[in-house]
């Protein structure tokens, strides 16, 4: 028996030794590829094959045969497409005009993160990543590891992205929204230089219902309450004000002076008294807001199902007349007929203390739409390739294709897709976006382009959505861009901020739904708990980030429509 054990033991030891030896030798072979690809840095002088005289072509004819491998994130409409490269008008024409071939790697949005991580881990990187919506944090992480190219090196951005650079001079937040501490920039972002694309939450009221109760679109918090109240009495089976928790905040926090610098930094806005950042759920104004919303809930004026909000439900409820007032980002879930029944909020609501901010505002500058990797052998070409979309002709071509072929110019100066493109939409067989995908790559946003009117076809720039945006933009503070942080700062506050936000959202919903009582005792307990969770560290870090944004050229001010003419 003992001998059996001995030999068994010996065998086991041998196995362990074998495994560790094998393990030791299993070094990641992928690393070698990455390190050799790092050698591709932007050249100090423009390569001879690049046409620096005009926008197109990018690569001079009969010089180099250049192919870019681009990874692009796509949503559902594209997955039905049989031949991505040949079915989309834009792709074919653009390859001809730029003299640059593109090998497309399309990735469904659900598996995008996994695919990207796998590419990085295996060392098989594409040349560029488009529409990835990659956050500043991830960009900094992979940029510092050498996977993403720093566009500020050798003045690459200025030399090969003149259109983007010009926009950045006009709107400083274009760059400050993607500049890392230390000055590196790893991506081009969507430039939202139109009024319609800066307001990301709007409120609508059913015109027929307003007529039936004899009221107008509200302008104050009291009128808002009265309109909802009247709706409830007239239509007792209606669901009240329908919205998601996010859009409930976007559209009502402003009445209490909260969220005065836009939505890109969560619950951080400016303390007007000190000029520094504050975590606004700790303010007395937040308490007033919660009390106001819980009254709405208690009186049946706020939908009891706001936690379970979905776009599909919004479409259904507005269609069958169970919802007469709602707030959301856009009207695309409503049918054309229902959209026409809606009256829009023409100006931000004024609260009881006189505040009339609108939290649902966003910045002109965004990040993460076009990234060039270290594997790209022609970074100058790649950058010029994407930069074209920031010019007027380029943006028009990107969204609408060619006027006279896939688009027509309207009498009011705007553009629309041609009848052949929209024939399935008009006959009801397809949605607007579902038809547009055969011309352009703009669907699902986050594109490396600008939203400037009239070159952009997105929903926000049309109809009552646009009119409402004009009403709501008046007197808005310029929104802060999404701040960037160092690795150390992220490590220090990421967990804390997430924990505090989760706690705040929980308490908010429990109070609004009447599950907990909001009084002096529970409020001071709430504040104490947040302080215990080290919120001061978060505020300090955000202060530093705000200062960095100022140093990078961001200026405080107010939006006005003239900025975007």
């Amino acid at each position: 028996m003992k001998n059996r054990f001995k030999s068994l033991l010996v065998l086991c030891l041998a196995a362990v030794v074998a495994v560790s030896v094998i393990g030791c030798n299993g070094k990641d072979s992928g690393n070698d590829d990455t390190s050799s690809k790092k050698a591709s840095k932007p050249k100090a002088q423009a390569p001879s094959y690049i046409n620096m005289e005009s926008a197109l072509p990018i690569v001079k004819k009969d010089t180099e045969d250049i192919t870019l491998k681009i990874m692009i994130k796509n949503g559902p409409y594209y997955q039905d497409m049989k031949d991505f490269e040949n079915d989309i008008y834009f792709i074919n024409k653009y390859a001809e005009r730029t003299n640059v071939k593109v090998e497309w790697q399309t990735v469904a949005s659900e598996s995008f993160d996994d695919t990207l991580t796998n590419s990085l881990a295996s060392g098989k990187l594409p040349d560029a990543i488009m529409k990835g919506g990659i956050s500043n944090s991830v960009q900094r992480n992979y940029g510092e590891q050498g996977f993403f190219l720093d566009l500020m090196e050798n003045d690459m951005l200025k030399t090969y992205a003149p259109n983007y650079w010009a926009l950045a001079q006009k709107y400083p937040e274009t760059l400050s929204s993607s500049t890392m501490p230390g000055g590196s920039i790893y991506s081009l972002g969507l430039v939202r230089n139109s009024v319609g694309s800066l307001i990301n939450s709007k409120m609508y009221f059913n015109k027929d219902w307003l007529g039936a109760v004899g009221k107008n679109v509200p302008t104050t918090s009291q009128e808002f309450y009265d309109v909802l109240s009247a709706f409830k009495s007239k239509y007792p089976n209606s669901l009240g004000f329908y919205t998601s928790s996010t859009h409930m905040e976007y559209s009502t926090l402003g009445m209490f002076g909260l969220g005065n610098r836009g939505t890109l930094n969560g619950f951080i806005d400016m303390d007007e008294k000190t000029g520094k950042t504050r975590y606004f759920p700790m303010s007395d104004q937040y308490r007033e807001w919660v009390e106001y919303m819980s009254k709405l809930y208690k009186d049946g004026l706020l939908s009891k199902d706001y936690i379970g909000f979905s776009e599909a439900k919004l479409g259904a409820f507005t269609e069958n007349n169970t919802v007469g007032a709602f707030a959301y980002t856009n009207l695309s879930s409503l049918t054309d007929k229902t959209q026409n029944k809606m009256a829009y909020l023409n100006g931000s609501l004024t609260g009881p203390k006189g505040y009339s901010d609108w939290y649902g505002t966003t910045s002109v500058g965004h990040t993460g739409s076009f990234i060039i990797t270290s594997a790209c052998k022609y970074p100058e070409v790649a950058l010029r390739w994407a930069d074209y979309f920031y010019s007027d002709e380029g943006a028009l071509f990107f969204y609408y294709g060619d006027v006279g072929v896939t688009a027509v110019k309207q009498s009011d100066g705007t553009y629309e897709f041609s009848d052949s493109v929209l024939k399935n939409f008009r006959s009801g067989k397809n949605s607007y976006d579902g038809s547009a995908v055969y011309v352009s790559l703009y669907a699902y946003g986050n594109t490396p382009s600008k939203t400037q009117v009239p070159f952009n076809s997105a929903d926000d720039n049309r109809g009552i959505s646009l009119k409402s945006a004009y009403g709501l933009i008046g007197d808005r503070n310029i929104a802060w861009p999404a701040f960037t942080f160092t690795k150390k700062e992220e490590r220090s506050i990421d967990d804390i901020k997430r924990d505090i936000d989760t706690y705040v959202k929980g308490e908010r919903d429990k109070w609004i739904q009447g599950l907990n009582q909001l009084n002096d005792t529970t409020w001071s307990r709430f504040i104490r708990k947040i302080q215990q969770m080290d919120v001061d560290k978060v505020i300090e870090t955000y202060d530093a980030a705000l200062q960095r944004a100022y140093d990078n050229g961001f200026k405080e001010g107010k939006y006005n429509a003239d900025m975007f003419k």
Partner: protein, 318 residues
């Protein structure tokens, strides 16, 4: 020296000889064993080398072997998080109550099923009851939410009409219903499937034992108590020990799907916490550290319970 060596060799040789004989006799079985062993070594043992990233600052650029060591940083981050005690408590509470309530039902069900005389009824009941096991978690949580929805959910309507529930209560979101719903849906889903092993154990009991007790005048219930239950005791204890070994591994999917902003105090468990913390920047090192912590606790639990089981009964895993 010479003598000791030869003594060792001498004692080793008959052992090897016996082995070689066994291999020659049953070589087909050993051949069958090789792919299994290989897959275990390749997919279970070799990847263990990756555990080291729990102590490293893992970057894709440096890979598993090249990343820097940072000691217990990830563990500190996990343990000093403000919510750690709450999350640990939630995990253990959910896991233990889940086990206490879901463990007996398959056994009782198997015993009850055993009493059925009609073979067709028996197999029909079996098929119907283990069908839910194959329904995905997402669908189950979706059904639960739909049935409990005020105004439209059948269960909600039934309970409101009976006067047990207030109208407008979103049962599937409230903290006080989280654990009961989690456990009840688990029982519904898994009772049938888990009872299979008990049913087969029951069928293995010698029928003569039943006859013997009948002669002594035992009724049906006494028979179950004195023959059937002791008969499947080894199976029960083995499964109980194994259950304890997964006490820290509260499944991620169902909890995550059932979480709402208002029940986070009870629904946030280790797996969902790590999912959130690790998802944005793909922090594999942090997730590995927490996974290692879970596995160590599970291992300790299973060793302790096994020892107890050994002492109290003759049944144990090892």
């Amino acid at each position: 020296m010479q003598k000791v060596k030869s003594k060792r060799l001498a004692s080793a040789i008959p052992c090897l000889k016996a082995w070689r004989k066994s291999i020659r006799k049953h070589w087909q079985l050993y051949l069958l064993l090789i792919p299994v062993l290989a897959s275990f070594i390749i997919f279970n043992y070799i990847p263990m080398a990756g555990i080291q990233i729990a102590f490293k600052d893992f970057t894709l650029k440096d890979g598993i072997w090249g990343s820097e060591w940072i000691g217990f940083y990830h563990f500190e981050r996990f343990f000093t998080g403000y919510k750690f005690m709450t999350i640990l408590k939630n995990t253990l509470l959910l896991s233990v109550t889940h086990m206490i309530f879901t463990f007996p039902f398959p056994i009782i069900f198997a015993l009850a099923l055993n009493e059925l005389r009609n073979a067709r009824a028996k197999s029909m009941v079996q098929t119907i009851t283990f069908a839910p096991h194959f329904i995905s978690t997402v669908v189950i949580v979706g059904m639960m939410t739909a049935f409990l929805q005020p105004d439209t959910g059948i269960i909600n309507i039934a309970l409101t009409n009976l006067g047990v529930l207030d109208a407008d209560t979103y049962v599937s979101r409230l903290p006080q219903f989280f654990r009961p719903l989690y456990i009840m849906s688990s029982i519904w889903t898994n009772m049938g499937w888990s009872s299979i092993i008990y049913i087969s154990a029951i069928s293995a009991i010698d029928p003569q034992l039943y006859e013997a007790t009948e002669i002594d005048g035992a009724g049906r219930f006494k028979q179950v108590w004195h023959v059937t239950l002791p008969g499947i005791r080894p199976v029960i204890i083995t499964l109980l020990i194994l259950n304890f070994g997964s006490i820290m591994s509260v499944g991620f999917e169902k909890v995550y799907l059932m979480q709402t902003s208002i029940n986070m105090d009870v629904s946030e468990v280790i797996s969902t916490y790590v999912y959130e913390r690790g998802i944005t920047a793909r922090q594999f090192d942090f997730a590995t550290a927490v996974g290692l912590f879970n596995s160590i606790i599970n291992l300790i639990m299973i060793v302790i319970v096994n020892k107890i089981a050994k002492k109290v009964s003759e049944v144990s895993l090892w």
